[in-house]
Amino acid sequence: MKSTEQNDRRSFLRKGLGIAAVASTVTALKAFQTDSVEETGEKVKLLSPEGEIVEIDKAYLKPVPEVHIPPAQAREGIPNKRFVMVIDLARCKNLRKCHDACEAMHHCGPEKEFLKILKMQDNKLASPYWQPTMCFHCDEPPCVKVCPVDATYKRSDGIVLIDTDRCIGCRFCMVACPYTARTFDWSEPAIPLEIAHQHYSPETSVPAKKGTVSKCDFCPDMVRKGEMPHCVTACPNGVFYFGDEYEDAVSNGDETVRLSELLRDRAGYRLHEDLGTKPRVYYLPPVNRSFPFEDDEFSKQTDHDHEN
């Protein structure tokens, strides 16, 4: 009984979140519908929801229309959703694929990081581990509280966004955020011309603007397309689970699980619970790890700094 329920939920989620991975930038949501389409003869390989590689004619591919959400509309959340993320620290080995995908999709440039992977060590005897951090989309966001112009706001779907068309660049939100999640465009952002000419949407944080604050946006533009945030899909180890608290389900692309069970069974926690910010990003402790910890060239240096 229980397993069927879970299966139903899983298939439902797969539809909802569109885990159908794609081989090209074009999504083939309608690929399996047998409309009367004239076949071109050109075939493309796709990964089906069942995890099989299928070959279909290119004519069945339909580009997902890019929905542009202007700043005023971006203030309202996606209805009946409450997005949440769970990060499994036992699986992270600092591959940085999430980071690179995030940087690429948001056109961050070398100095701007929406997502960081930090070396953490809770005490001297405990083993160090890698911890991805980003904006936690807190339910009590200190950044939103201090913004003098309502440029950063909390939506009904739990996401905290920034309207860089309104931001005055006072950076109060940056000092208010205890997680240092926010970044600033100190100079004219170096982005390709065609990206710079795009219509701006707070949901994509693109194009960035000089003199304004930006940060991880939980990729609501991907969610609207029925896909997962870039960090989730980029991670080969399934570290990131993303989903909807109302549905009580999260998925890392490989498996879909009940949020409440996952957090209960694996002792999910949030960073600096004592600060009262109520993050929407949970962590699973780094126990029974998939990989041994290995330092990288930067982590050794920061160790030294922290002790002094």
Binding site: A151, G169, C170, E188
Partner: protein, 449 residues
């Protein structure tokens, strides 16, 4: 004034004439001209760098994602702090009945007005998007301490301007009637600013009443501006700022640096304009006692601010405190505490230390110390975030301002000094009419008019 002159006796008339002659605004001497020229050059270069900053972004500063506030904000806090002197001398001393404050009132307002003006300017300089400044009004959110700061600072600016201007009206009338050999524009200026003042008892009554109300009103506003400014830090969760002590700590420090500012300007004006008769050793001695009192108060809040968290050494606080006590910021921290607070207290406690020259030196110590104290309040905290800094360049980990950033900051200080110089050139530095009244020479005049 003309109608009054013949009613007063010859002797008192001569005396008032002497006061008027000695206190009239005078053209700059050679040093004054050089000083103004120097300030203009500093400001002009600073403006040039600022235009670059507007064009290229705040990237020309050393601020980055961790040290996201730098010396601009430290300088802002300094300006707000020193502007509190206006309320100290004009209001607190007035309401406590300290008669000796008369020759110091205008000096204090001449410091307060440019200081609060430049506090506002510096905040715009720090903004990433100064072009969107009006969003602060059109999209104002009352939850934000910045909105509170905008409200109290603009209120304080208006009250300070009025407290500078209202006592100036009788002097303006005096200048309007006397200064016939001045350039046309200057005569016109005095005429406009005098607002048709003719020393009518009704006018005097209104003026004194307004001054009294304003000096009562400015006290809560003064506490407000600096308490709210401290809340820009204290309302965050950052170690080193997360302190309930911040309001009184900032306000007491502000009164201290304000008093030091007045002492420094008293000394400079007295030396250059030969005001020994008006700004006496007694004034210095009284201001010295006041400065000691305020410094001791500040010392008390410093002990609370540093000793209590240092006793507990909570994990994240300890990184911050260690960097101040014996880490990266220790030389600056101890220099500021010793030279900017302890030594002035020791020197000014002795009557010998309360002579004009040592007081001038001590007040410079206090002012310079106060500026760097704001640096120590703003910057080290941001170098110690909850989340460890990794994969960032060395320059991001330890903020040190760039040359242009220093220069722009220096030019805001120069700008405030320039406004003070211009005010002292155009208006009597010591209230003339009040001095005449206090010398007991004006009694007859008031009765006849």
């Amino acid at each position: 004034m003309k109608t009054k002159a013949h009613t007063s006796s010859k002797n008192t008339g001569d005396q008032s004439e002497e006061i008027i002659r000695e206190l009239m605004p005078r053209p700059f001497g050679r040093i004054g001209q050089l000083w103004v020229a120097l300030l203009i050059v500093i400001c002009a270069v600073g403006l040039f760098f600022y235009i670059q900053q507007v064009r290229d972004g705040l990237g020309i500063t050393a601020m980055r994602d961790y040290s996201t506030w730098g010396i601009y904000i430290a300088n802002f806090v300094f300006f707000v702090a020193i502007s509190l002197v206006g309320s100290l001398i004009s209001a607190i001393l007035k309401l406590s009945g300290a008669q000796w404050r008369t020759p110091l009132t205008r000096i204090s307002e001449m410091i307060a007005v440019p200081a609060i003006l430049f506090a506002a300017i510096v905040i715009v300089v720090d903004m990433g998007r100064p072009d969107r400044f009006l969003n602060v009004i059109f999209h104002a959110r009352i939850q934000s301490p910045i909105t509170w700061d905008v409200i109290v600072i603009s209120t304080y600016m208006v009250i300070s301007l009025l407290l500078l201007y209202l006592p100036l009206i009788p002097d303006m009338a005096l200048l309007r009637d006397r200064a016939k050999d001045l350039p046309k524009w200057q005569q016109k200026l005095y005429k406009i600013l005098a607002l048709g003042w003719n020393n009518h008892p009704e006018q005097v009554k209104i003026l004194h009443k307004s001054e009294l109300y304003l000096s009562i009103l400015i006290i809560p506003v003064a506490f407000g501006i600096h308490t709210v400014t401290s809340w820009l830090f204290a309302t965050t969760l950052r170690p080193g700022w997360d302190s309930t002590n911040f309001g009184p700590y900032f306000v007491s420090g502000a009164f201290m640096v304000g008093a030091a500012g007045v002492i420094a300007m008293m000394y400079i004006f007295r030396t250059f304009y030969k005001f020994e008769k008006y700004i006496t050793d007694k004034h210095f001695s009284n201001m010295g006692k006041l400065l000691v009192l305020l410094s001791l108060l500040y010392l008390y809040f410093n002990i609370n601010e540093y000793f209590v968290p240092a006793y507990k050494m909570k994990a994240f606080e300890s990184d911050h405190l260690k960097s101040l006590f014996y880490g990266r910021y220790a030389p600056l921290f101890w220099a500021v505490q010793v030279f900017g607070m302890i030594i002035p207290i020791i020197v000014l406690l002795s009557p010998k230390g309360r002579k004009p020259l040592p007081m001038f030196i001590m007040s410079i110590f206090v002012i310079v110390g106060a500026w760097f104290k704001r640096f120590l309040i703003v910057i080290p905290t941001l170098s110690h975030p909850y989340i460890p800094m990794t994969r960032v360049p060395e320059s991001w980990q330890h903020y040190f301002p760039t040359f242009k950033e220093w220069w722009i900051t220096a030019s805001t200080l120069a700008g405030a000094l320039l406004i003070m110089a211009i005010l002292s050139r155009l208006f009597p530095i010591i209230p003339v009419v009040e001095e005449i009244e206090e010398a007991g020479l004006a009694k007859g005049e008031n009765q006849t008019t």
